[in-house]
Amino acid sequence: MELTYEDFEDGIRRIRLAGRMDVEGAREVDLKFTTLTASHQAFVIIDLSLVDFLSSLGLGTIVRSAKAQMSRQGKVVLLSPQPHVAKVLETTQVDQIVPVVYDFDEARRAVRPAGSPSG
């Protein structure tokens, strides 16, 4: 599992995950992922386009970060899951509580805090 990220001027952070988000994959990125997504207020777009497998434990890692951001008045949005990953999000209805979008500009609009400068 690989994790890369970039920060934008409008305070949005894009995190790209690549590989298998299973037990092993979640553990491989856990510390870095938690630090980047949950340790302080952030507006995070998690790009799932290169994640080809998502298990329930990997999903837990993502939902924990979304809950942590909610408690810090931040936000997490999921971007471009592959069909199988999207099916997991739909089956568990996580897509009802964490926004899932398929376009980066739409993701920026969905995650951006109200009143922030337009990017």
């Binding site: 037990v23 497998f53 298990s55 329930s56 809950k67 089956t91 009802q96």
Partner: protein, 152 residues
């Protein structure tokens, strides 16, 4: 233990293997399953769906079946016959039928959402059939995937 039979013209093949009750066994399990699927000409979303079911079931066994921290063997048998793909997962853990467990409540909000409990609901949704029995002191789960026109 690792046994297998090549696909036959009669359309039936099977393989069986034991894995330790360790998270590190999950990727080798997936690789073994994918090899079986390849050998049997099974492709597409059906492979991913079934791989995820196996992963979730065995994760459930590893994390919840055993009262002790000792080493245990999880036996898995794969079988493909005609259009049906079947996996049987057997463990010697305490009696536990996850199918009796209530699925997690659908949260109204992220605030109310739990973090977990999705494994068996995923298996229920992704497998065509799922059953449990307790036999000879062992838990035995069977999952079945049936051929779909678009995926094999």
């Amino acid at each position: 233990m690792h046994e297998s039979s090549k696909p036959s013209r009669e359309g039936r093949s099977q393989a069986s293997r034991s894995f330790p009750n360790d998270d590190a066994a999950l990727r080798p399990l997936s690789e073994w399953f994918r090899e079986f699927a390849r050998d049997n000409g099974i492709a597409g979303s059906r492979v991913l769906d079934f791989e995820l079911c196996l992963n979730e079931l065995v994760t459930n066994v590893i994390h919840y079946a055993y009262a002790d921290r000792g080493e245990h063997e999880i036996r898995i048998a794969l079988e493909r016959e005609a259009g049906e793909l079947r996996a049987t997962v057997e463990d010697d853990g305490r009696p536990f039928n996850p199918l009796e467990k209530e699925p997690p409540a659908i949260p109204d909000s992220l605030e109310d959402a739990g973090v977990g409990g999705w494994g068996i609901p995923i298996v229920r949704a992704f497998a065509d059939d799922l059953s449990y029995e307790r036999r000879d002191g062992r838990n035995r789960f069977t999952i079945i995937s049936r051929e779909r026109p678009e995926s094999s």
